[in-house]
C-alpha cells in the first residue's frame, strides 16, 4: 500500500458558522494541514455567495483556532464578488502556499460550482467534505463531537427570536427537528433560515466566551467576547 508522506496545505473558506468550522475539523482529522482561513466579508446582506460574518468575531475565532485568517472585503455585487474571492484565494496561495481550498458547502451548487471554477482556474484542489450530507446526521455529529454552536440569526416561520443566543444541544435539537418538520424549513438552514456562530470545537485551542450581547430584531448581536483556556 502506498503511503503519502506529503501533507497538503489547505485554506478553509470560513464564515465562523457550523459548516465551515466542521469542514476545517474534517480536514485536520484527515491529517491535512489547514494553513489558513479565508473569510469574505460582504457588504451585501442579500449575497447568495457569502453570508456576512463580523470581522472581529472571525478574527477572534481564528485566534482561538490558532490559524491565521485572510480577510477580504467585497461589495457583494453578483459575480463581481467572485473576483474578490479569487483575490483572497490567490493571497492564500502566495502567502501560505496552499494547494487546495475547503468549503462547508452542503447543497448549494450555486456556491460550490463557483468556488470549483476558481480553484480549477488556479489549478488547486477543491474539497467539499460536507457535500450532500444529511442535515440530521450533521447536527448529531456536531453535538456528539462537542461543537458549541450558537444561533445568531433567525428568519423562518416557526423558528423565532426565542432561539437567538441559544446553543444547540441534544435536548433542544429534538425541538428544532420538530419545528423544521412542522414549519417545513431546512434543518441545516440551507435556505438561510438561520445563521450560526461557533464558540468552541475540537479544533479550537481556546474557547470563546460571550461577554456582552443584545438582540436586535431577528439577530443576536455579539458585542464583546473573550478567549478562555479550555
Amino acid at each position: 500500500m502506498e503511503i503519502s508522506l506529503r501533507i497538503m496545505k489547505l485554506g478553509v473558506l470560513f464564515s465562523g458558522g457550523k459548516d465551515s468550522v466542521y469542514s476545517a475539523y474534517l480536514a485536520e482529522k484527515e491529517r491535512y494541514e489547514v494553513s489558513c482561513l479565508i473569510s469574505i466579508i460582504s457588504e451585501n446582506k442579500e449575497s447568495f455567495m457569502f453570508h456576512t460574518p463580523n470581522i472581529s468575531l472571525v478574527e477572534k475565532q481564528a485566534e482561538a483556532i490558532e490559524i491565521p485568517v485572510i480577510i477580504q472585503r467585497t461589495k457583494g455585487e453578483k459575480e463581481k464578488e467572485l473576483l474578490d474571492l479569487e483575490r483572497a484565494i490567490k493571497k492564500a496561495v502566495e502567502k501560505y502556499k496552499i494547494e487546495g481550498i475547503v468549503t462547508g458547502a452542503i447543497e448549494s451548487a450555486y456556491q460550490a460550482s463557483r468556488v470549483q471554477r476558481i480553484c480549477n482556474k488556479l489549478k488547486i484542489e477543491c474539497f467539499n467534505p460536507l457535500w450532500q450530507k444529511d442535515a440530521e446526521e450533521h447536527w448529531r455529529e456536531i453535538i456528539e463531537k462537542r461543537f458549541k454552536v450558537i444561533i445568531v440569526s433567525v428568519s423562518a416561520e416557526g423558528f423565532g427570536e426565542d432561539w437567538l443566543g441559544k446553543e444547540i444541544d441534544i435536548k433542544n435539537f429534538e425541538e428544532l427537528k420538530k419545528l423544521s418538520r412542522k414549519y417545513k424549513f431546512h434543518l441545516g438552514f440551507e435556505g438561510g433560515e438561520a445563521e450560526t456562530f461557533v464558540v468552541d470545537a475540537p479544533i479550537f485551542k481556546k474557547k470563546i466566551e460571550i461577554k456582552k450581547s443584545r438582540i436586535e430584531g431577528e439577530r443576536f448581536i455579539i458585542e464583546d467576547i473573550e478567549l478562555r483556556e479550555k
Partner: protein, 181 residues
C-alpha cells in the same frame, strides 16, 4: 452486495464523491462495501453483485494514469455504473479517446430515451475537465450534447454517466442498485 469503487487520490474527497453514494444505498437498504481502485482484489469482484465506480475531483487524474487497474471491467459480467471519472475509466478500458472539455455546475441535458429511469430534459450537475469518446459500435448513446453524457454497453450491463447523479438524480443510482440480477 454492491461494490463501491473509490477512485479519489485524496482521502478528503471520500466525503464528497463516495459517501453520498453510500448514503443513497443505505437509504435503499442495499448492502455494500467500499474499496479503493488501487486495492481491489479478485475476491472483491467475486463478492460483488454490482459495481459503482465513483467520480473524483476536477484536478484528480491519477486514476487515468493507472487505467491498467480497471482492466477487470472488460473481464467480468456484472452490472457496472461509472460516474464521471468512473465513466471515463470505462471508456478508456474500451479504448476510447480521452479528450478535454470542462463543464462545472448545472446544465440541461436531453435524454433520447429512458436511461436508468431518467428521461426527457434533466438538470444535471457537472464537474469534469475531460470526457471519453465512446464507440457507437459497442455503446448506445442515450444522451449527448456535444459530448457523450450517458452511455450503455450494447451487450453488457455497463452504464456510464458524465454528470453526478448523487446531486440531483439520486433515483438513477437507486434504479441501478435495484437492477434484477
Amino acid at each position: 452486495m454492491i461494490l463501491i469503487l473509490n477512485i479519489c487520490k485524496e482521502k478528503l474527497h471520500y466525503f464528497e464523491f463516495v459517501k453520498p453514494i453510500e448514503e443513497i444505498l443505505k437509504r435503499e437498504g442495499k448492502k455494500f462495501f467500499t474499496r479503493s481502485y488501487k486495492e481491489i482484489r479478485e475476491e472483491d469482484l467475486e463478492r460483488a453483485g454490482k459495481i459503482i465506480i465513483c467520480g473524483t475531483s476536477l484536478k484528480d487524474n491519477e486514476f487515468i494514469k493507472n487505467i491498467n487497474k480497471f482492466s477487470w471491467i472488460k473481464k467480468i459480467n456484472k452490472p457496472i455504473l461509472g460516474i464521471c471519472g468512473g465513466m471515463q475509466a470505462i471508456g478508456k478500458v474500451f479504448s476510447g479517446k480521452l479528450k478535454k472539455k470542462t463543464e462545472i455546475g448545472f446544465y440541461y441535458e436531453d435524454f433520447k430515451k429512458e436511461f436508468l429511469g431518467l428521461g426527457g430534459r434533466q438538470e444535471v450537475y457537472h464537474l469534469h475537465n475531460y470526457y471519453v469518446e465512446f464507440s457507437e459500435l459497442e455503446f448506445e448513446i442515450f444522451c449527448k450534447n456535444e459530448i457523450e453524457q450517458a452511455v450503455k454497453h450494447k451487450e453488457k450491463e455497463i452504464y456510464g454517466v458524465l454528470f453526478h447523479p448523487e446531486v440531483r438524480q439520486k433515483g438513477l443510482i437507486s434504479n441501478f442498485a435495484n437492477i434484477k440480477l
